[in-house]
Amino acid sequence: MSLAIPNGLDNTVERPGERAPLVLGETTYHDITEAVCQVAERPPSKGWIAGFLVAFALLQVLGLLILYLFYIGVGVWGNRSPIFWGWPIVNFVFWVGIGHAGTLISAILFLFRQEWRTSINRAAEAMTIFAVACAGTFPGIHVGRAWLAFWLAPYPSLNLWMWPQFRSPLLWDVFAVSTYGTVSLLFWYMGMVPDLATFRDRSKNKWRRMAYGILSLGWSGSSRHWMRYEKAYALLAAFAAPLVLSVHTIVSFDFAVSQVPGWHTTIFPPYFVAGAVFSGFAMVLTLMVPTRTLLGLEKLITIRHLENMCKIILATGSIVGLAYGTEFFIAWYGQVPAEQFAFINRAFGPYWWAYWTMVTCNVISPQLFWIKKFRTTPWIIVVISIFVNIGMWFERFVIVVSSLSRDYLPSAWAYFTPTWVDWGMLIGSFGLFFTLFMLFVRTLPIINMSETKATLAKQEHMAHMHVPAQAPLEAP
């Protein structure tokens, strides 16, 4: 039976027993190479230049504000007693969360053999690394004397004669985020080596060839190499999958091991992880939907890819909603007055606006993805994804600020107000993120060519096999 809807149009419909194609059109291996390489090989478009300049300008804002912070001190932020963790930590958790989609796509979806990951994993991994870079900035400058942040490392210091405190969750964070950054970088780079070799072999320019030649380490595509390479890839995926869980789990420990009402709750680890995946996918969609259109990659990043990501957003959004509900229920069930107050205060206290923004964006807006129309229309996807991003930022704001601003000691209660530096740094961190992303688009293969080709080969192979999809139906 031939496909009701042939290659090219709608691959979101899948008839049971037949797998919908993930690469559309009469595509050959060479077409994939062309489609991906042309993004980096053609001269930069005006749009790219304009976008890069804007992002780069915002990055300068971040850089200058950090210098300003060094010069004056942390008083330039709105952090005041009792809200010592203000926006810097909100931004940190927000960015770390964004950084969860990439490795999740490359590792966990790889382990689950979700082949649709192949055309988005590269860009998503890149976003992971850039997001971790943004995230790492904030606790780094939040330590006060940022130039001494290396004291966090357990090195034998002749000046200090002491060691870091390993019973502190903040130090766990240092290890978790740096390990995550390192392993993500290795994973990303390793996945890129065969594609860099493609770039090398297509280069007309000697210097370009030399640069890509160094980066691709002399990759030749030997079968023996491929075999070890795939083994290493599977191993790294197996290591990265629990690592992804651990990173946001440990970020959640920062909060949950304390006794601050609203922070100390055991659901935090899985709830933070789900939230992180949720926000990460939202960011991937926010960026990939315009990118695929602008760069002409619709045949490789199809509506089906987008739809699948929407489904993950829906699933994780629902988990987050369930966690909100559980927290509220247990706050009531536990009958601890401070805990009860913390939750009532979140919803109806001075930060009610943040709370309800969060609920609207995180719990309600993704539920729209139950409707197929919404998860297959690119612009609606972008709108909802942006809402989710906003919602997840507010979630961290609610957790950090509303809990700290009113804890056990009413005489110390205060209302947090961000300063212009807080605003500038938040916006500037987006500058850092987008600058890196823009450079990535222009210099590195943004789609995993070798894996996409393998997917295509498998697709063709299955088509050639003409395997009957089901047992011949007999009369009952």
Partner: protein, 433 residues
Amino acid sequence: MSEHAAPVVKPADDPAFQLPASLASLQLPLMSGGLFALVVGVGLAFLVGSGGALDQGSNVMPRFGFSAYLTAFMYVLTIVLGSLFFVLIQHLVRAGWSVVVRRVAEFMMIMVIPMAILFIPIVFSLFFEGSLYVWTIPDFAERLHLDESMWNTKKSFLNGPFFVIRAVIYFGIWIAMALFYWRGSTGQDETGERAATDRMQYWAGPCVMLFSLSLTFAAFDWGMSLAPMWFSTMFGVYIFAGGILAAHCAITLATYLLQRAGALRQEVTVEHYHDLGKYIFGFVFFWTYISFSQYLLIWYGNIPEETEWFFSRQRGIFGYLSLALIFLHWMLPFVGTMSRHVRRRPGLLACWAAYILVMHFVDIYWIIMPEARALGHEVVPTAGGVLGVLASVLCVVGMGSLVLGLILRVAGGNRVAPVRDPRLMESIVFENI
């Protein structure tokens, strides 16, 4: 890639899809023996509880009898619900590899109906104050010097009628879901209708959401409220983690036994065991992750209301069980199922699955039985001595056998794989990379 012989899908009436006679003949012995063991076990447990048997100290209360029953019930129920979740998630993600083993999970899933009947004794316990759940004791707050108004608020949730209503709702949801997927899947055996697969996939999303909500609250009701002052938001996830792990083990073990007896010989291959093994490994990790996180947060926070629960599990025999969980529920199976070579040996993997099923019982036992002690924080929980352990084991073996007999009975009247599932072929030729 195309080196193996072209696979064939056998006709629906092929003996490979029938329950082998050697297994079918076991159903009556299993059911009757199981019922007998259950009755004896519960009786013994009540005897131990009343202190009439041997003197095992004054800590063992009449609660022992019902607690032993609840342990067995929760053990079987978590496996049944884990299987239900397995079926839901396979449909949700349109999984192809698992089709050949899905019917086994469906057999276990449909057991949620007998589980509803087996729940009746627990409802029955509510009529005897404090015979299982201490919140049924009228002067509980006075005895423990709790704040009266706080306790009254809590009683608006923890009271007999509402408890029963919630249980009815949970079972209603689960039975409805199980029946829907059971009918869809067995119906397809006859009709081969593709739309049935679509329909099941369509409803899988909402079902998973309802499932997680109901399981969370059922865990709170039946497990967490045993210690009514204790609370942990993670508890539902913890029960889920144990259940889904045990369900994967049960599927592996059952499939292996089926194959040994002669069914599905060509259909289920080493590749499926490999995948099941990966999931078992993954869920061992997941269970560890959840239970460790729960412990770490409570240990670190060090708030008396919360640490109480772990405190009573760190003393006496349960202290050793806690350590046993660390080493035998996590480390040993974690190392054991790590290797690809183990996962690709069905016999070995089935052994590990059986082992983890035993450890799952230890886990459930560790959750429930420490609460079967006299009121008061300083009371050290005990296992009730040799007789107490024997009673607990008899209960769980009895209930397990009873349910297993029922499964065999149901399986006898149906095929042991979804023979006309459109993805059956994909599942048969499935290969791990």
